[in-house]
């Protein structure tokens, strides 16, 4: 008879979040020291703590390294076209309002090619959780500049340094109507998971920017060192300020003397986008039973909030 091993050294076959990952797809395609894996971990941790049935979680992504996240998460997942994750997710979230729909994608996918959808989904307050992984460049295709690339940063399409003003994404999201706006880095794993959890339970549009190292695409041309260097920078430079004045929280990632303001900036309650009059789909009889007055009233009450 074998003696049971002491509890402290017990070998477990499964990690608690194993069932939330598509282990049969590993090894993944991400580079060493990339931050996307940390974000995936925070997301699946949030799923496991959400109290929402796993089958109710849906993950949608666009194109890019961050867009591959959906493919590693073992919930219903949709890897769509470049820039269109948000309207694809809108279709799911509006048709099945009971589902918890999260978009994980990159800064370029969401704010450049998908920028129009981002601002309109926020304006409508569509019940979506947006996790925008910002690594300041298009990493998958070899490090081209995007709308978040800092002024003077080099990339394969800004060989003399970028001279465009980059987006301040939390400020943008707030300005166009997001109900929840946060910024963290992949160093802030616990805060990030907590914010994702909050977003999962919030009815409305939640926008979470996550700064992430991209040692291959962004780090190398800008002498940023490896991912560990970036994590050190996050630790040294990040200032948590939930009350920050959002127009002032631009990031200059290449200036190591400037602070990076992170935190949960916005958390307001606004009625979520709900274009269905009355009862759920197919329950036609129930909808017909709603009298016209009720419909008018519900329309008015939504109208007042805008």
């Amino acid at each position: 008879m074998s003696v049971p091993a002491p509890a402290a050294t017990q070998f477990v076959e499964e990690h608690p979040i194993d069932t939330l990952l598509r282990a049969d797809r590993f090894p993944h395609i991400l580079c060493p020291a990339c931050g996307i894996g940390s974000v995936i971990h925070c997301y699946v941790q949030a799923i496991s703590e959400s109290g929402i049935d796993k089958a109710q979680h849906v993950c949608v992504s666009g194109i890019g390294c961050s867009g591959r996240a959906a493919g590693y998460i073992n919930v219903d997942s949709y890897h769509t076209t470049h820039g269109r994750a948000v309207p694809f997710a809108l279709g799911i979230a509006v048709y099945r309002p009971e589902l918890c729909v999260t978009v994980i994608s990159g800064d370029g996918d969401l704010s450049s090619i998908g920028g129009n959808h981002l601002i309109h989904a926020a304006r409508r307050n569509v019940n979506l959780n947006i996790i925008c992984i910002n690594n300041f460049n298009y990493g998958m295709t070899g490090g081209q500049a995007g709308p978040t690339t800092p002024v003077s940063a080099k990339s394969s399409t800004t060989p003399f340094g970028s001279w465009e003003r980059p987006f301040n994404l939390p400020h943008l999201a707030h300005a166009v109507g997001a109900s929840l706006v946060s910024r963290w880095t992949v160093l802030h794993a616990r805060q990030l998971k907590q914010t994702i959890l909050k977003a999962m339970h919030k009815q409305g549009f939640a926008f979470i920017e996550v700064l992430s190292p991209c040692p291959t695409g962004f780090g190398r041309p800008n002498d940023r060192g490896d991912g560990i260097e970036d994590m050190r920078r996050y630790r040294q430079r990040c200032v948590i300020d939930d009350e920050a004045y959002l127009p002032d929280i631009d990031i200059d990632i290449t200036d190591d003397t400037s602070p990076i303001v992170v935190g949960n900036f916005v958390d307001i309650d606004r009625p979520p986008f709900q274009p269905v009059l009355g009862a759920p789909r197919r329950e036609v009889a129930k909808v017909l039973a709603e009298n016209a007055n009720q419909r008018t009233r519900s329309r008015e009450s939504v109208g007042h909030e805008h």
């Binding site: 493919g71 890897h79 076209t81 309207p87 809108l90 048709y95 789909r281 197919r282």
Partner: protein, 391 residues
């Protein structure tokens, strides 16, 4: 239920059974409602706007969802998302918007997400003639997104067919798991005629094939096709943990970026429409039995062609009409057969474009194919077709 009765009196039912004098765009919207449309996302554009407007009014009243999106890129993406979650979905547009939808039409083909897309064709290219007729989007509907894939497209010639073919489009889309197009032209979309809507229980419905396995059953492979080349479809939120991607994928739905998987997948996407073509193809034949000259026409041009054929017969010319009700798949066998007949001497293809469908006819026959074209803005008149028939 008294409440139901009073509400019904003020709210038309989902299926507006009865006879109506209805414009084509509205008939299309009513066809979608009768087919069980759950979710519409669109961006208004002339001359399809009346479809959007009608559904903005009608769809929420019968428990469906209407969303006016920020653009056509968003419209097509939203209907794919909703369809992936189990909805019957529609969008309606015209040339410029149709062009914007092309990338995600390819995604629909690749992910095998059913949806119906109405394109009311206007004078083109570019902004062209927003309020006037064109028929120049037929090849875009077939080949507009990059790569090889199969689709089905219908082209109504009357408001009644706008109603009937929209229903059929939903059934074919769900049956084959493909995007299906209703290619109306501006004349048909803006023409008002009698439309007979049958009782709700007489509306045919073919639903998409669903998994026979329970959620959690590891045996279920979401993209493993049955013998009919169509995989059963699991929807978001059902617990199957499906993965859908626009990347080349294996039967699990996982990206598999190699030539062998790509060959298998793309071949199946093309073949599944090809093998089911007989179910999808619809034509109407007028006076073809003894015809020496065969007119091939669709949409509003088929109405002119019908008149021209009758006029030619009065003048002793044995003309006949093959009306294309489905444009894609093209009725190859039928055209080949007609071309082999001893009586048939030539084909005439009138269309409001610079010569598109005539190419399909040309590749299927050695007989002369006479093209009658105009760039757009007005119908081709019966007289101008007659001149070619009697020449």
């Amino acid at each position: 239920m008294p409440g139901t009765v009073s509400a019904t009196a003020s709210t038309p039912p989902r299926v507006m059974t009865g006879e109506h004098f209805m414009v084509g765009d509205h008939a299309c919207a009513e066809g979608a409602l009768a087919a069980g449309l759950d979710f519409f996302a669109g961006y208004p554009i002339t001359p399809s706007t009346e479809i959007c407007e009608r559904l903005a009014h009608r769809l929420p009243q019968v428990g469906g969802t209407f969303v006016q999106m920020e653009d056509e890129l968003g419209s097509i993406a939203a209907i794919l998302g909703a369809s992936a979650a189990g909805a019957r979905t529609l969008t309606a547009t015209s040339g410029p918007g149709f062009s914007l939808m092309m990338e995600n039409i390819g995604l629909a083909a690749m992910m095998e997400i059913p949806c119906v897309i109405v394109d009311v064709m206007r004078g083109s290219p570019s902004t062209g003639l927003p309020t006037l007729v064109g028929q120049a989007d037929v090849f875009q509907a077939r080949w507009g997104s990059h790569g090889d894939y199969g689709i089905v497209a219908y082209s109504p010639s009357s408001p009644q067919e706008c109603f009937d073919l929209t229903i059929r489009a939903f059934n074919v889309a769900d049956r084959l798991r493909i995007p299906v197009f209703v290619l109306m032209d501006e004349v048909i979309g803006h023409m008002t005629e009698r439309v007979v809507i049958p009782p709700a229980q007489q509306i045919p419905r073919v639903d998409r094939k669903r998994p026979s396995h329970e959620p959690g059953d590891a045996v279920f492979l979401p993209f493993k096709a049955d013998a009919d080349l169509i995989p059963p479809m699991a929807h978001a939120g059902e617990g199957y943990n499906v993965h859908f991607t626009g990347l080349t994928h294996d039967e699990r739905g996982y990206p598999a970026l190699n030539a062998q998987t790509h060959e298998q997948l793309v071949t199946r996407l093309v073949n599944k429409v090809a093998v089911h073509a007989p179910e999808a193809i619809l034509t109407e034949e007028v006076d073809l039995d003894d015809a020496e000259v065969v007119v091939v026409a669709f949409g509003c041009t088929a109405r002119s062609a019908r008149r021209a054929v009758a006029m030619a017969r009065q003048q002793g010319v044995k003309a006949g009409l093959l009306r294309l009700i489905s444009l894609w798949p093209f009725p190859e066998e039928r055209v080949r057969d007609l071309g082999r007949r001893d009586a048939v001497k030539r084909f005439v293809v009138p269309e409001i474009n610079m010569g598109q469908m005539c190419r399909e006819v040309e590749r299927l026959t050695h007989l002369p194919v006479q093209s009658i074209n105009r760039a757009g803005g007005a119908m081709i008149t019966p007289q101008s077709i007659l001149e070619v028939l009697v020449s």
